[in-house]
Amino acid sequence: MSEIDLETARNVAHLARIAVPEDTLPTLAQELSHMLSFMEQLNEVDVEGVEPMVSVTPMRLKRRADGVTDGDKQDRILANAPDAREGFFAVPKVVE
C-alpha cells in the first residue's frame, strides 16, 4: 500500500503544484515511499471506536457579530504582490 510509483509521484507533485523534473521523480518516489512505510506503524494501533482529534484543547470556537471590522487597505494589501496593476493582483492569462 505504501509503494509510490512514478505515476503517483508525478500526480502528487502536480496536485501540490510543484514542478518536479522527470529525472528527479524516481528519487522523490523513493523518499515518499520511505516516509509512508514509516507511517505504516500506525496500522498496529487499535483505533476502533476512537474519535479523530478535532481540537487539542477542548474549546468552543468563539463567535462574534457578523460585521465589517476591517478594510480599505487596498494599497497595503497589494504592496507585496510580485505584479499588481490598477488595484488588482495580476496573473498570467487564465482562460484561453
Binding site: 500500500m1 509510490i4 503517483t8 502528487v12 507533485a13 502536480h14 496536485l15 501540490a16 503544484r17 510543484i18 514542478a19 518536479v20 522523490l28 523518499e31 515518499l32 520511505h34 516516509m35 509512508l36 514509516f38 507511517m39 505504516e40 506503524q41 500506525l42 496500522n43 498496529e44 494501533v45 483505533v47 476512537v50 474519535e51 479523530p52 482529534m53 478535532v54 481540537s55 487539542v56 484543547t57 474549546m59 470556537l61 468563539k62 462574534r64 487597505k73 497595503r76 494589501i77 504592496a79 507585496n80 504582490a81 510580485p82 505584479d83 493582483f89 496573473v91 498570467p92 492569462k93 487564465v94
Partner: protein, 493 residues
C-alpha cells in the same frame, strides 16, 4: 559588572529599574556582540536603528517608573514572526522581499511591553527541520564546539538558540511544532518552554501546522522564561484557538517548593539504543527532584511509539494546506515565466523555485495523505492515534501525576552536514521525546542539566498539565538549581 550582553533578563530588569544601566547601553552591547558573531549566522536580518530607537523609548519609559518587566530588554525574533516593515521570510526563498504590513501578536506584545528587537533570527525553512540546515540563509552554527567541526544549534529555532547561548541577545522568541524550541535549547545549554496550545496567539506567525504550532521564549534561565512568557501570552481575538484565560504571574510562582509533587517517569521513553549518558542524566534528574521533596513515580504512556509517525502524517497534511497560499500572486517570489506559460505553470515553477527540498517533500507527503482514497487510511487514522496519545497523558494526570520528566533529545548536538546522507526519517528521530507534547497540546520545557563526555550540553524535559505553566516552571527551576548548569561556550567565533 559583567559584559551587558551576558546578563539575564531578571538581572537586566533590576539594573534598569535601579537606573544602573540604560536600555541603550544594553542594546549597544548586544549589537556589538552580533556584529562580531557573523560566523554563527544567527541573526539574518539586522535592525540596529529600530533597536536603538526602541531602546531610547524604553529608557524614557523606565525613567517614568512604571515600566513592565520586559521594558528595555534586547531580544531576537525568530524569522517566522511577521514584523512590520522588517523582512519576515520564514527562512524561505518563496517569501523573499516580503515586508509584512502588520506585526504578529506575540512580537507586538513584546514591543508594547518595551522589549527591544535586535533583528530576525535564522531557522529551518518554514520551521521544518531539526538542525537549521534547511534555511535559505544557510546554516546557523552552535556556539558550542569541541573539535574542528561546526555543530548544529538544533532546529527549527536554531538561530534563536545560538543567539541566546552566545549572548548576542538576552533572550529570543522561538516556535515549537514538534520540538523546535526544546531541542535547540537542549543542544545549546539554554532554556526553552513550549506553552500549552492556545497560550500564545498564533496570529501573524507564519503557519506550519496550525494544530501543533506554539510560540515560546528561549532564555538563559528558567526565571527569564517565566518573565518573558508572561509578556508573550494572553487572549487574542484574532486567533480563534487562543485561550481566553487569565495570564498568571509566572515569576511569582517560582517558589522553589516542590514537596509532595508527583513526577512521572514514563517507561516508554527508555528507547532502545539510548546513549548511557542520557539514561544516567535522566536518572540523576529524577534523583534531584526526589531530593527536593518530590515523589518519583513510574508511569506508562503506551502510545508513545506512535507519536512520530502520527506527527509526520498530521504536520505535513496541515503544512500542505497552509503552504498553498504561496502561489506567486499576493506576496513573495514569482518565477520567471516562459512564453505561453499559464497560471498552473506559474504556480508550479514558483513553488519549485521558492520551496527547498525538505519543504517540498513535506508538502507532497501532506498532499498524498489528504488525497482521495488515502484520507482515511493515513490522515484520519493519525488523528485517532493522536486522541489516544493525548488520552495517555490525561490518564497519567488523572492518576495524580503533576509533571513528567524525560530526556529532551536522544543525543547532544551533532555536526552540521553529518545527517546529509541520512534519510529524512533519521532526522525526524530528533523529535522523539518532544513531539508527543505537541500532539497532546501540553506545556513542555527543556532545562540544561549537564554536559556529555565530549563537553556538550544535554537537556532534560519536563511536561506539565495543561495551563499549568507556572507549576511547570517552578519544578523546572528546582531542577535547574540542583543541576547547577553554569557552563558557557568558549568564544571562538
Amino acid at each position: 559588572m559583567s559584559a551587558l550582553n551576558t546578563l539575564t533578563i531578571a538581572q537586566a530588569r533590576d539594573l534598569l529599574r535601579k537606573g544602573d544601566v540604560t536600555s541603550v547601553a544594553l542594546t549597544e552591547a548586544c549589537l556589538g556582540a552580533i556584529e562580531g558573531a557573523g560566523r554563527l549566522n544567527a541573526f539574518v536580518h539586522h535592525t540596529p536603528d529600530l533597536a536603538l530607537e526602541r531602546a531610547r523609548a524604553a529608557d524614557a519609559r523606565l525613567a517614568k517608573g512604571d515600566a513592565p518587566a520586559m521594558c528595555g530588554i534586547p531580544v531576537g525574533i525568530k524569522d517566522l514572526f511577521c514584523t512590520e516593515g522588517v523582512p519576515s521570510q520564514a527562512a524561505s526563498r518563496i517569501l523573499s522581499g516580503f515586508l509584512p504590513p502588520y506585526e504578529s501578536t506575540v512580537s507586538a506584545q513584546l514591543r508594547d511591553s518595551g522589549a527591544v528587537m535586535l533583528g530576525k533570527l535564522n531557522m529551518d525553512e518554514f520551521a521544518m527541520g531539526s538542525s537549521n540546515e534547511t534555511s535559505v540563509y544557510g546554516n546557523a552554527v552552535n556556539p558550542w564546539k569541541v573539535d574542528d567541526r561546526d555543530l548544529t544549534p538544533g532546529g527549527s529555532s536554531g538561530g534563536s538558540a545560538s543567539a541566546v547561548a552566545a549572548d548576542l541577545c538576552l533572550a529570543a522568541t522561538g516556535t515549537d511544532t514538534g520540538g523546535s524550541i526544546r531541542q535547540p535549547a537542549a543542544f545549546t545549554g539554554t532554556v526553552g518552554i513550549k506553552p500549552t496550545y492556545g497560550r500564545c496567539s498564533r496570529w501573524g506567525i507564519v503557519a506550519f501546522a496550525s494544530s501543533l504550532d506554539q510560540a515560546g521564549p528561549m532564555t538563559k534561565t528558567v526565571r527569564d522564561c517565566a518573565i518573558m512568557l508572561e509578556a508573550m501570552c494572553g487572549h487574542d481575538p484574532r486567533d480563534s484557538t487562543s485561550a481566553d484565560l487569565p495570564v498568571p504571574d509566572f515569576e511569582a510562582m517560582l517558589t522553589g517548593d516542590i514537596r509532595g509533587q508527583r513526577i512521572g517517569i514514563p517507561r516508554e521513553y527508555r528507547m532502545e539504543g539510548m546513549p548511557a549518558e542520557i539514561q544516567a542524566l535522566w536518572a540523576k534528574g529524577a534523583e534531584m527532584l526526589r531530593d527536593a521533596g518530590a515523589e518519583i513515580v513510574d508511569i506508562s504512556l503506551p502510545h508513545t511509539k506512535y507519536a512520530l509517525p502520527a506527527y509526520y502524517v498530521i504536520a505535513p497534511a496541515e503544512a500542505s494546506s497552509n503552504l498553498a497560499r504561496y502561489d506567486g500572486v499576493r506576496f513573495g517570489h514569482r518565477a520567471k515565466l516562459a512564453q505561453g506559460d499559464g497560471i498552473t505553470q506559474m504556480y508550479e515553477k514558483t513553488r519549485a523555485e521558492g520551496f527547498g527540498p525538505e519543504v517540498q517533500r513535506r508538502v507532497m507527503i501532506g498532499t498524498y495523505v489528504l488525497s482521495a482514497g488515502f484520507y482515511d487510511a493515513y490522515y484520519n487514522r493519525a488523528r485517532k492515534v493522536r486522541t489516544l496519545i493525548k488520552r495517555d497523558f490525561e490518564d497519567a494526570f488523572a492518576a495524580g501525576i503533576d509533571a513528567i520528566l524525560t530526556p529532551a533529545t536522544p543525543s547532544s548536538a551533532f555536526g552540521l552536514g553529518e545527517m546529509a546522507e541520512a534519510d529524512p526519517v533519521q532526522m525526524y528521530l530528533n523529535d522523539v521525546f518532544t513531539v508527543t507534547v505537541n500532539l497532546a497540546g501540553l506545556p513542555g520545557i527543556a532545562v540544561p542539566a549537564g554536559l556529555d563526555a565530549r563537553g556538550l550540553p544535554l537537556g532534560l524535559q519536563l511536561i506539565g498539565r495543561p495551563w499549568e505553566e507556572g507549576a511547570l516552571l517552578n519544578t523546572a527551576q528546582v531542577l535547574e538549581t540542583a543541576a547547577g548548569f553554569v557552563s558557557k561556550p568558549e568564544k571562538w567565533w
